[in-house]
Symmetry: C5
Subunit: 86 residues, 5 copies
């Protein structure tokens, strides 16, 4: 799993039907208690907001997170951390 | 998911039957609002054009994007972003 | 598989139901007998403690480790090493 | 997908039965029209030769490329590019 | 697939039941005929010994290599190369 901080989102009106209703959050990775120069975009699965530290599941596990085996995704925010990591 | 900008395409006449009809787009990754030195090739799933910023799903989720569980692909453009990222 | 040392854990109260009961351990990777500047977070599958050297399975194999094909995870600690690696 | 140039092959007589008959090609990656310092080995799915530029599918999609869901592979050459990339 | 040289092994007595009987080999990657600063741990599927150059399958293909769809692994040595790579 990846730990990171949500810093923004992107909007795509023209997208596959299987993605309708999902919010794409931009996340900066946190490693060893510090923000690092790694970034990814993940579907929000838990109502995460900008500035929150989250945990992300990637790969086929991301589809499991959404409960939709046909969702064309590869990264989903699956939890919000109780404590800021930095 | 990966955010990037389409900058070209490649053509392969001699390819597996399962790839016939797909267009292979070349994408430069965008991280934190800037084009970075990372590149990938993805099947176009949404009619993306050169210069557009897109969102890409990789791994087994790419096959879900095409709606073909047997497609021999690992990256598909699944949406066009409404706003240029840089 | 990845070899690493457990150095902490993170808590997420607000998470997907499919993650309830799992403990998220923070691991620093070990390569060639030395701790390196790579970090990941993995669900604990074996009762690993801080300071222990562990082996981690990533990707779809992580779900196999938990014996739950629908678990939204991508990394699980599957064993504790008998000998410290460094 | 990965774009690259075939520069060699490796032979393994002592291998799993599920790999018998496959040819393992060594590929140097091409990014943005230049050979880069990244390398991988992929099963040949299209009769690619040394010096040709190819497209490679990785992960579970590689098994789809071979049409064998039990093939123990993770990268397959799925097409030969019509035009040299550099 | 990854090409590398076996340089050691690790032992884990306290591990998941699904891993009993497997040997975990430490491998240094070989790229373009030279050992590089990349390392991984893989289950031995072919009886590889220290010093031998091997080919490794990662991801879900690793489970196919072991012929056990529920094995919690993500990397397996699937062949021994006939010729040393460096």
């Amino acid at each position: 799993m990846i730990i990171g901080r949500v810093y923004g989102s992107v909007v795509s009106t023209h997208k596959l039907d299987g993605l309708v209703g999902y919010k794409f959050m931009q996340v900066q990775c946190i490693e060893n208690g510090a923000l690092v120069d790694k970034f990814l975009t993940a579907v929000d699965g838990v109502g995460a907001g900008i500035g929150e530290d989250v945990i992300i599941t990637t790969g086929s596990g991301a589809r499991k997170a959404l409960g939709k085996d046909d969702a064309p995704v590869d990264a989903v925010i699956v939890g919000i951390l109780d404590t800021k990591q930095c």
